[in-house]
């Protein structure tokens, strides 16, 4: 017996969207194919997490928000991310479309393309087609298929060969008013280029039940260096899916720094495909679990290239009745001689009803490799509390210092100091509840 999956998104609406945006034929077909795949495919199989019980259907409808010109036009929550004026290179997405998009003159002069993906589809269709849904497969599971059908707004960042850009490119995604929120971020760094991309995902006005389904794809060509930082801060009613995937060529390196500060259920999967010889990836994730939220956080490095190296760190602080399943997957394929993969997952439990599982998974098909893992789940060490208190620091402050210290090795890696402060503030807010 075959079962028919009833999709949360209407075929007519998707086709209509593609038409009104005058998308190329291939994209219109890709979207419809995505819907068909979504009907046929299963949900992703996740370690110890039953997502079929989650709110998976509230994709909402397509809505267009007014353009934004000043910081003051944004919701309060978003304003704090900026000073008086916007960053030089910035894209802001509200509801289902981009409302602000600007690349710095300097970057533009260097030949960098930084615009929303919808616009890039009009201006650089061949480039987009070459990479779109090539790191994450459309048919991987129902969530990725649905994303490919409904994606909207998004970012296209293209850095030409040998171009090094110092200033980070920034994006802000605001889900609000029940509008479809499925941003697609596509980063292509040509040979020997270097670039930093930083994003925030937050909720704005009138956010009720909502699914956010985002994909980030990174292509780092030979010798390129790409840094990606992402902070997610979505409220209880939002279910958040984020697939991030990097394809890393010879001697290229990709760094991910991720702050999962959501208050609702979330699945986050951050993967580096180390295709090239001497390729490198570095993934750091922190999360603070509160309330009854359920989190499934995966970091993954797949080694194909010889002497490819990966480092992965996940640190989670769990409060209340929150649950986090934390998976670290190091996969070394046959032929990846001299590969080296290190991973650490650490969970700090602050409540007897919280749950945190750390699952290090090593899958190794080659002999001449190194791989290491460390995983721990524990409480705040009473010896450490005693030591700090013996210097006059109160018990409460001592515990705070230890908990923040636990997360600090990741927080301090955020490439923009304003965002580092913001992440620190989010951590404090989630811990202070």
């Amino acid at each position: 017996m075959s079962t028919q999956t009833v999709l949360p998104v209407d075929r007519g609406a998707v086709a209509e969207l593609s038409r009104t945006k005058q998308e190329p034929e291939w994209m219109a077909e890709l979207r419809i194919k995505g819907l068909e795949l979504a009907e046929a495919l299963e949900l992703p199989k996740l370690e110890k997490t039953r997502i079929d019980r989650w709110n998976l259907d509230s994709y909402g409808s397509y809505r267009t928000a007014a353009e934004v010109t000043h910081v003051g036009d944004l919701p309060q929550e978003a304003q704090s991310l900026f000073g008086e004026s916007f960053a030089n290179s910035l894209i802001i997405q509200r509801e289902s479309g981009v409302v602000y998009s600007k690349a710095s003159d300097e970057a533009t002069a260097q030949g960098v393309i930084f615009m929303d993906l919808e616009q890039a589809l009009q201006k650089h269709p061949e480039l987009v087609q070459k990479y779109f849904m090539q790191a994450v497969e459309q048919g991987e599971n129902r969530i990725t298929a649905l994303h490919s059908a409904v994606w909207n707004g998004g970012v296209f960042l293209y850095v030409p060969k040998n171009v090094q850009v110092e200033q980070p490119f920034q994006a802000l995604f605001i889900t609000e008013n029940g509008a479809v929120t499925a941003p697609h971020v596509l980063i292509v760094a040509e040979a020997n280029s270097s670039v930093t991309y930083v994003e925030n995902v937050i909720a704005g006005n009138g956010t009720e039940q909502q699914v956010v389904n985002g994909i980030t794809e990174v292509f780092a060509k030979s010798g390129a260096k790409v840094q990606v930082a992402s902070i997610h801060n979505l409220p209880v009613a939002v279910t958040d899916f984020s697939y991030r995937r990097a394809v890393v060529d010879n001697d290229a390196s990709v760094e991910f720094t991720i702050g999962e500060m959501n208050s609702g259920n979330a699945v986050s999967d951050t993967t580096a495909l180390l295709k090239g010889n001497g390729s490198h990836s570095d993934t750091k994730v922190i999360c603070v679990g509160t309330g009854e939220q359920k989190l499934n956080l995966t970091t993954r490095a797949v080694h194909f290239g010889k002497a490819s190296t990966s480092e992965m760190i996940t640190r989670a602080v769990m409060r209340d009745e929150a649950t986090a399943i934390i998976n670290g997957v190091t996969k070394i394929e046959k032929g990846a001689t001299g590969a080296n993969g290190e991973q650490t997952e650490k969970v700090l439990m602050l409540s007897p009803k919280a749950r945190g599982d750390a699952n290090p998974i090593l899958l190794i098909d080659e002999d001449d490799v190194k791989a290491g893992h460390a995983a721990s789940v524990g409480q705040v060490n009473p010896e450490q509390v005693y030591y700090l208190m013996s210097r006059g620091i109160s018990k409460e402050t001592a515990q705070k210092l230890i908990i923040y210290g636990f997360l600090a090795p990741v927080v301090s890696e955020i490439p923009i100091s304003k965002l580092e402060d913001q992440l620190q503030e989010l951590v404090e807010r989630k811990l202070g509840q």
Partner: protein, 262 residues
Amino acid sequence: MSNAPVFSINGLKATIEGKEILKGLSLEMKGGEIHAIMGPNGTGKSTLASTLMGHPKYEVTEGTVTLDGADVLEMSVDERALAGLFLAMQYPSEITGVTNADFLRSAINARRGEGNEISLIKFIRQMEGKMKELEMNTEFAHRYLNEGFSGGEKKRNEILQMMLLDPRIVILDEIDSGLDIDALRIVANGVNAMRSPDRGFLIITHYQRLLNYITPDYVHVMMQGRIVKSGGPELAERLENEGYDWVKEELGIVDETVGQGV
């Protein structure tokens, strides 16, 4: 006006996991005095230090500890510190993610209270000045607290904290263990520089060699969880030359420890 502290321990008994380690220890010390507690391993010296500071593993079953008449045993660990007690620990904790500088500033500000926090510049000047005295590389300020520090570096870091926190009663628990002769001299200089009528020291040590650098006013021998003999600096010298056997003989003690496995 003199601000000399008076610290008295009276008939102190303490247990760990139900086993009695301190068996009625009494000691009185005043500002300006340096007391040394010596004794073989397993006689309860470190337990005394931890109990005075309020380590949660030790339970006081009898006796009193007062500082200027205030009941120390009623205070939480941080309250004891704020009252002026400082313990330089034998095995200081390592804490990832908390830099030495952030920790020191939190400790100083805990003393100063809200609204009266030390300015960053003043703090850095103070900290770096003291680090220089202890021949510590200022790079240590930005490293995570004790993480990856060598034994000697940890001990110097304990002394740095003592210097910055300006305590009234200082307990040094085997501060000399694991120190080479240069580090020992530096640590001793740090302690000597802090000698003052407003401060008393209780030095717990296994060896007499630290006392070559810091001359105590009183020397106490600890056995079986209490002080069994007291004297002046000459007592330390005799212990160094002759060991502890003569004390045991004199007092008719066969086993000086507090019991098996301690």
